[in-house]
Subunit: 195 residues, 4 copies
Amino acid sequence: MSDKAARKKQFILDTAKKVFSEKGYKDVTMKDIVEACEISRGGLYIYFESTEQIFKAIIDAESAAGDDVFSRTRKDATAGDILAIFLKEQKKELLLKKDNLSVAMYEYLFVKHANGESCKDEKAKFDAAVEVLTHLIENGTENDEFYCEDPNGAARNIMYVIEGLKIAASTYGITEEDIDNELLFIMSGLLSGEE
Amino acid sequence: MSDKAARKKQFILDTAKKVFSEKGYKDVTMKDIVEACEISRGGLYIYFESTEQIFKAIIDAESAAGDDVFSRTRKDATAGDILAIFLKEQKKELLLKKDNLSVAMYEYLFVKHANGESCKDEKAKFDAAVEVLTHLIENGTENDEFYCEDPNGAARNIMYVIEGLKIAASTYGITEEDIDNELLFIMSGLLSGEE
Amino acid sequence: MSDKAARKKQFILDTAKKVFSEKGYKDVTMKDIVEACEISRGGLYIYFESTEQIFKAIIDAESAAGDDVFSRTRKDATAGDILAIFLKEQKKELLLKKDNLSVAMYEYLFVKHANGESCKDEKAKFDAAVEVLTHLIENGTENDEFYCEDPNGAARNIMYVIEGLKIAASTYGITEEDIDNELLFIMSGLLSGEE
Amino acid sequence: MSDKAARKKQFILDTAKKVFSEKGYKDVTMKDIVEACEISRGGLYIYFESTEQIFKAIIDAESAAGDDVFSRTRKDATAGDILAIFLKEQKKELLLKKDNLSVAMYEYLFVKHANGESCKDEKAKFDAAVEVLTHLIENGTENDEFYCEDPNGAARNIMYVIEGLKIAASTYGITEEDIDNELLFIMSGLLSGEE
DNA sequence: TATGAATGAGTCTTCATTCAT
DNA sequence: AATGAATGAAGACTCATTCAT
């Protein structure tokens, strides 16, 4: 029975994810989720007691499922290859229309930040990405693939640009070309020193 | 009496701005504004019929008042000076605690974007800034103050980093040092090529 | 307008009093009162924010209006007369069917007591009545109207009997004869010593 | 298996009694009892279909177990002794904190009375106690232990005072001294005539 | 203009009760 | 017997919006 319950819980999370991706975080009500799931009001409360709890469960699951791009790359890939794959991954996410939690996540973090709660998990994820990129750029520099005097600075720059692109995609909207331009600029910055 | 009305309208906008800076956009109700202004419910409706209308009025006023950093700089300032001033201005805004509309603005744009309305005004402002920065960097490059092969790319990079910093400030939180690091990285990128 | 508001508030209290007298305290919902008053849900909340607040307002008003039997008696009344009037008053209240708040009041005090809140106002009213009765019996004893060795004890006895009758009236039910028997027993106890 | 069922039923009643003594009658829900018993929702319904039914079962059991003070006293006890024991028993109950069903019982009787149902069982218990006390006082009077012209009146007076004390204990709160004072007043009233 | 009372819709949350397993 | 998931009704509370004054 716990198995059935787990499947139902998962079903709710999957359905709620769609709702959050469509409406953001703040506007989603328990009623929205109830209706999307086509279950009863009370039925939802058996599994979750608030939209916050549901959203947390969704992002925790996302994190857990979070594919580490880097770990998926081949052993013999060059730094340039890996970086290219990473940026391509980011691009794919930026262009994602359905099931895109960016807006909901930003709204959620706004709430947490406004309430004085730390967003350390998300911050940690950002910092971890910077860390990995730093090493990657250092390796690339040692191999003479890249030229970079400040790998950590470059890594941070990349991550902030990606955040900037993400927010742009969630507001003004952004074209594939816009993204390509930015990513190319980043790549060329690392390669340019070579000459 | 139209004068008195205008003053009252302005008073409402000033007061509402504080409310939006504290609560973001989505959570602000007409009731919040009525209470902050200490006027009657009906009284507010005479001037504005929704929070959206009020918020629009606030950001329009901001735009109008929006000081153009560039136009305020001295004629004989170098490109490097002007860029430094621009970045310092951005830093000041990033650190602004009170009357900071960033979160409200993002939430507002999320809504517009989700509704399929274009955010062209804001996009235009972004593009305009890129434009100005591009010219600035071009000038700097011509003067040999900067070294830059792709001024437009560099300008966009700067603007996306600033967006990234802004969203970071509104979510994880950000220290003055974090900002300085990013801005220095940008400046050194433009200057580094000189050697 | 404040006048109209005061009248409406009073109307709500009057109507709510009927509801409390019919349903007790715990079972009364804001909805019950809304329906009894034939106003809207929100309309009630303008004046009161909970059934507790409404009930408090009712009993405060009752206290304020609370006729002091003793102050209404003629100057030349004997102690026996005054006591007889007092007991008759109690009898009248015990037999009251409509607008009888006894049950609601008990339930309200149960809640307060269970919550560890003091019921000092009600206790004070009880003690005050004991006090007055004590003086009355003392006076009666001095005049040789009554015979009583422990006026304070007798006063307390009377008040506890009245409480006992009140709860009996609210539970088992009680006949006029039952009350008369008790009150006569009390009176005869005070007079019996004379012989 | 009926044995097992009986034990479970008893367990539910014992547990529910604690709940009623803590929360009174009206506020107790089937959920409260389910949780206190740590059984399933459906499991409770197998044995009882409402809180009312459970409460009735509890008070029926109490009545059945109800120790008759009088029958427990020694044959050669004097009327004064027996009355003293009876009053001491009442005092013990008045001071009982845990497992005290007074409030729940009052609330239950309020409901029955309001619904026009007779509370004859409880009334009968009250009357029976009056009856026994009457005989006791008569005996005491015959033995010259007591002096009392109206034994039935005195018996009723005692019972109403006890009701008064019970309700006072459940509302204002009452001290041991308060109880002692009342009980002493009663005893001395019966003894006083002796002189 | 300005007030603030009034309405009613919307959401939240809790339970009694049922039912498939 | 027993479980606990599921339903739906009931009540609380908050606001956007209107309107008489």
